[in-house]
Amino acid sequence: MHKFWIILKREYVQVVKKKSFILGIVLTPALMIGFSVLPAMLAAKKSSKTEHLAVIDQSEYHIGTSFSNELAEYKLDNGMPYYQVDSIFNLPEQDTAQYQAIYDSLAQLINENVLKYFLVVKPDAPMSDTGIYLVTNSDNFRSLSRFENKLSNILSSIRLNESNVNLSVDSVLSLTRRVNLKTKDAKGDSIPFEIKYFSSIIFIGIIFGMVVGYGQLVMRSVIEEKNSRIIEVLISSVSPFQLMFGKIIGLAGANFTQMAVWVIIGAGLYSMKGSFNIDSSIDRIIFNPVIVIFFVLYMISGYLLYSTIFALVGSIVNTEKEAQGFVMPITMMMILPFILGIYVIQEPNSTTSVILSMIPLLTPTMMMMRVIFIAPTLTEYSLFSGIVGEALLGLLFVCLAVVVMVWITSKIFRIGILMYGKRPTLPEILKWIRY
């Protein structure tokens, strides 16, 4: 037992004192924040320059003029108008030659960036759904939705005047407004889908990173000792089992050190959450005891399962290059939940989702996803049924898988680490298990 701690300590210190470890602690959250916040910030960035438009209006309803008037309500931050309609060409339908000439010159101006948009109103615009179109080189969805709204209103009022209904445009619009369908869970609250989705990505992203990242460190550490040929010196002092577990637990310690730092960084960010404009319903996920407890349990059990597999791989290969062939499929198993997750989060309670989340190699991530989606909506928890019961059953399966893997690996490990040169074949490895 005593020697186990000495190995554990060395493995821990060797990782923690590396510059890459400290860099990783700081850079990873910075990158994560950068990747999620930066695009949103850029997309939300407001224009600071007036956007110029033109209109070719072939209808008889002066749609161009109404449009120009309606747009006047949008202002830039500095008080200048957001949109400026430079010119409106009212053309009779028959004058195709002039239409073509104007169209071409406006198109030219768009390409020269003098104009940002020009609107073409066909003669049948009020009666057709496709009688108006916009020519532009930009796809700014904010402006497009504004234009669509304003034009819909203009067309509605024209149609209203043409019909015999004796109502004002505003009252018709207010009478025909659309319903805003929101979802609430059984608890009577609602957590926006994006919040659940992003928090599940972050939670299982952390599990993935830790399990694969630190699992591979276990593998590398074994390969390094095999390569430098110190391994036989080591197992003349300690048992192969002590050596393997000293490594696995020592690196788990480094893993938890990293987590602890992240929790502190996270707490700091959380205290400033007001300035990030995050929906406060996230509290119901990150402070949900079921989610937090299972997150910790799945991270530990998932790490034990995968790091044991990685230790096995390390013991039978000679170089990291050789190991890559094994690492790929193992990593794929962990990535699978990110792909299948799109289904699972839509139907977290379906039989397929339940079965998928009970496969030990997938449980740490898939079950975690389900827990995040289901647990906050429940009013009470039962240990034997529902999501908590399933998550516990899944955990039990993972633990059983860990026991089996440890048994197999300890058999293979003690022989594999002394095999240099040719990589053993599968039948050979299977024979080692029976020794």
Partner: protein, 311 residues
């Protein structure tokens, strides 16, 4: 510490690597296990260290099965050896000593002394990867004995060392023996075993072929040999009366002669035919005895040894 093996067997892929091997290594001697590559030396040692489990038979330490503290009382220098390249010399020595049950501060002073003696004193704060191969070899030796083991197992200790360092190591091994340690020395280079060991066990193809103290073995196989260094063609010597065997080495020939033949008679005959530079009546070398006892074809064996030496 007395080490005994009783009928140890180990089979790999239906080929016996070690076949009913029994050894008795008394305390305080240098015990040599010799044999060609693939004879089963390393497998035997790994079974002593409980690194490989024997199929049958048992290892006894002072008459009892190994106790939990056994590994702490042994210093093992494996044939396949290495150190952590990124650690400093002192760190490596301390860490490996800790794994042998020493307290971290306990070995510091003796580590410094050993490093000084090995000529590595000025490197103690450097990383292992900065050392030359020979220096790493010496450092490895320090890590093997730093925890004052009672039994020291050295598998091919001298491979890769220059003569000066071999001499240094030999002196240390003799000192360790004088201080009562038991030393198990395994090698395929028989000349080394001959110069160092008190007791020899020869193994071939996993079986013991000969076992006894060096003097006893030499007495038992007391046929005479003559070593001749000369210029000219020595091919005729094989047909001389009384000559049993001719073995050619790089710069001399060794003749095995029967007990009745007087070496003087041989000298009289050959001196007319070749220019003799050295003529020496010697005891049979372990190599000759091995060839004789193991009943293997000398040329085949010779090639095997050459292959081993160049490998």
């Amino acid at each position: 510490m007395r080490l005994q093996l009783e009928n140890i067997c180990k089979t790999y892929n239906h080929t016996p690597a070690v076949d009913h091997l029994s050894l008795d290594v008394p305390e305080g001697i240098i015990y040599g296990i010799i044999g060609p590559n693939g004879a089963g030396k390393t497998t035997t040692i790994r079974m002593i260290m409980n690194i490989t489990l024997p199929d049958s038979g048992q290892v006894l330490i002072d008459g009892k099965p190994p106790q939990p503290d056994f590994k702490n009382r042994v210093g093992y220098l494996p044939e396949e050896r290495g150190l952590y390249k990124k650690m400093t010399l002192m760190e490596v020595i301390t860490y490996l000593a800790e794994l042998k049950g020493c307290k971290p501060g306990e070995v510091k002073d003796s580590a410094v002394q050993w490093l000084e003696r090995m000529g590595l004193g000025e490197y103690r704060a450097r990383k292992v990867e900065e050392l030359s191969k020979g220096m790493q070899q010496k450092l490895q030796f320090i890590t093997t004995i730093i925890h004052k083991p009672e039994l020291i197992i050295l598998d091919e200790l001298f491979s890769g060392l220059d003569p000066l360092n071999i001499e240094l190591m030999k002196n240390i091994i003799l000192e360790l023996k004088r201080s009562g340690k038991t030393i198990l020395f395994s090698t395929h280079v028989m000349e080394q075993a001959e110069k160092l060991c008190d007791h020899i066990c020869m193994i071939n193809k996993g079986k013991k072929v000969l076992d006894g103290s060096l003097t006893e073995i030499k007495k038992r196989f007391g046929k005479n040999s003559i070593q001749i260094e000369m210029e000219g063609d020595g091919a005729f010597m094989a047909s001389l009366p009384g000559v049993l065997s001719v073995t050619e080495f790089n710069n001399y020939i060794e003749l095995g002669i029967d007990k009745k033949t007087n070496p003087n008679d041989i000298l009289k005959v050959i001196i007319d035919k070749v220019t003799v530079r050295r003529f020496e009546v010697v005891e049979p070398s372990l190599y000759d005895i091995f060839i004789d006892v193991a009943k293997i074809d000398p040329t085949e064996f010779h090639n095997k040894m050459k292959g081993a030496a160049s490998a």
